[in-house]
Symmetry: C2
Subunit: 198 residues, 2 copies
DNA sequence: AGACGATACGGAACATGGTTCCGTTTACCA
DNA sequence: TGGTAAACGGAACCATGTTCCGTATCGTCT
């Protein structure tokens, strides 16, 4: 058979070598820049780091969200895949949920500005929002459903809402030593438990 | 006695009449603009509404935060003053705390972009942050302390952290029907209660 | 190898919004 | 009424996102 690009049987007509090289260079430069200055780092800074013009960034990643997603895709996937594993290995569904959310929080608080970007209504972050939600809400929903079935959480909370709440609580974490996002998320998760009576 | 400005016995050397008029005009225009376009509304828009130049805005309110504080000062004061009243009138300290936080949330979710601004690290919002915190954290601390003394909340949560958490949860409220900030705040407050054992 | 079309590149140019600055106007007082 | 200091307006400046097009490069076909 003929040889294709890494992804088998793609219909897309193979990109030029310099284009593929630049894409990788850009990903590396962006990862560095995000780490150094947060995901809001000016486009020109990323371009300078990569040694390309800004036009090249926009050609490869039309919106900032595309770049952010590309940089963090692996970690998001890992988080998504950890959900079912935790459900299988934890003592209770509520414990699995709590641990999975810890994973998510750990991810968010170590990425400067990512939590902010996730909740931003700026059009440039639209697809970031969409990607995170598409990938993680179903995982969260399964955990939540298992916990609800076990009677360990109130049934009226939806996964979408919970994820956004957790994301919101992570905003500003690491910027202020008096604010511990993990503790508040813990409180929120604790609040999910049904009250004794009712 | 000699007649002074509205505020009695000020040392500041009375401002010119047009300046006082403009200040009021600006407050009205800003209130309108915030309502219509959120607290992020461009400075030029506010200036246009008020029929003044942008320089005039900066002279009266050097940072955006000063303007925001001036517009919402009354409501923040009212919220602060409601704290002790609720503590006196509620069945339990935890109930008072919950109701007071509801008040705060109601305030935040009806002001487009205010919750976002409150958590922003943008230098222009520095003093907004400071004002809200200075005024409301002590009130929250008293409620929290009363509840802790009554054994109704875990003692390790600080008022500052709780306020920031609640503020964070209000981000994006009203922009998405699937996200109900009030419900999540309710969960968080519920999570404050000590667990049965321990 | 050489030439040609498609693809990709770079960065100048434009749009938007915050901020500053200074020449002009206005209010106040003598 | 005239002088002075306060206040005003908005042009100009800066930072950043975004678009666009002349130029350079790649890959292929002959």
């Amino acid at each position: 058979m003929a040889h294709f690009d890494s992804a088998a049987g793609e219909s897309a007509p193979r990109k030029r070598a310099d284009a593929r090289r630049n894409e990788q260079t850009l990903l590396d430069a962006a990862a560095e820049a995000f780490l150094a200055s947060g995901v809001d780092v000016p486009v020109r800074d990323i371009a300078a780091r990569a040694g390309v013009g800004v036009g090249t960034i926009y050609r490869h990643f039309p919106t900032r969200a595309d770049l952010v997603v590309a940089v963090y895709r692996h970690q998001v996937e890992a988080c998504a895949e950890a959900g079912p594993a935790l459900l299988a290995s934890s003592a209770s569904p509520h414990a699995a949920l709590a641990r999975w959310i810890d994973l998510f929080v750990d991810f968010l608080v170590t990425k400067h500005g990512l939590a902010e970007a996730l909740q931003s209504d700026d059009a440039a972050f639209q697809s970031l929002h969409a990607y995170f939600l598409d990938r993680l809400v179903p995982v969260c929903a399964r955990l939540l459903e298992a916990a609800a079935t076990a009677g360990e959480v109130r049934p009226e909370v939806h996964a979408y809402e919970l994820m956004r709440g957790v994301g919101n609580l992570c905003i500003g974490a690491g910027r202020d030593p008096r604010y511990d996002a993990r503790r508040l998320v813990g409180l929120l998760v604790a609040g999910l438990r049904p009250t004794g009576e009712e």
